[in-house]
Amino acid sequence: EPEVTQTPSHQVTQMGQEVILRCVPISNHLYFYWYRQILGQKVEFLVSFYNNEISEKSEIFDDQFSVERPDGSNFTLKIRSTKLEDSAMYFCASSEALSLGRATNEKLFFGSGTQLSVL
């Protein structure tokens, strides 16, 4: 089965530094997502992305966060100035879009995640 790949698997950074988390979604998928999971807590939605723009974002996704699809395969999440509370497992996901740009196929494919530790 095709997979979503994420790199790196672990990232350690100092508070205030910028980090970029990378994802390669499944090649024929058109909808992309970032979620995060703080240890022992729920999986939180950050942002969805379609047709080279953000389609929806949560209140967590403030001005410190940005996403980009720099080429035909990669999908990145950038945190400009990391805070201690940004420490979490960050998951990328993708899905097909079957009808008028909406993700009517609800099966999300997740990567294995990037564990971000902010010191």
């Binding site: 997502y33 999986v43 998951f91 609800e106």
Partner: protein, 114 residues
């Protein structure tokens, strides 16, 4: 805004016994409901979904879930648990009339005892 509640942090079941993992939801529109499973060091994997139709939906690995509109529940079930079912299970919901995002619950750790 939609939300999902999984009231149990952990469920312990003896191998061979039936299992239930509970989930309740809240949406303003029609609920699209899902279950995902997470094994150690892996991303979430899709198990099953309810969009419309029969209230009992069947998914991967012998799991099924029952949609109950009056109780706003979507409990995950399996008639006979296997040790290999031990994992973290997430219920999720999307408001079918609006948002693109899928909202996940906090997860329930299922521990099958041999």
């Amino acid at each position: 805004a939609q939300s999902v509640a999984q009231p149990e942090d952990q469920v312990n079941v003896a191998e061979g016994n039936p299992l239930t993992v509970k989930c309740t939801y809240s949406v303003s529109g029609n609920p699209y409901l899902f279950w995902y499973v997470q094994y150690p060091n892996r991303g979430l994997q899709f198990l099953l979904k309810y969009i419309t139709g029969d209230n009992l939906v069947k998914g991967s690995y012998g799991f099924e879930a029952e949609f109950n509109k009056s109780q706003t529940s979507f409990h995950l079930k399996k008639p006979s648990a296997l040790v290999s079912d031990s994992a973290l299970y997430f219920c999720a919901v999307r408001d079918g009339r609006r948002d693109d995002k899928i909202i996940f619950g906090k997860g329930t750790r299922l521990h099958i005892l041999p």
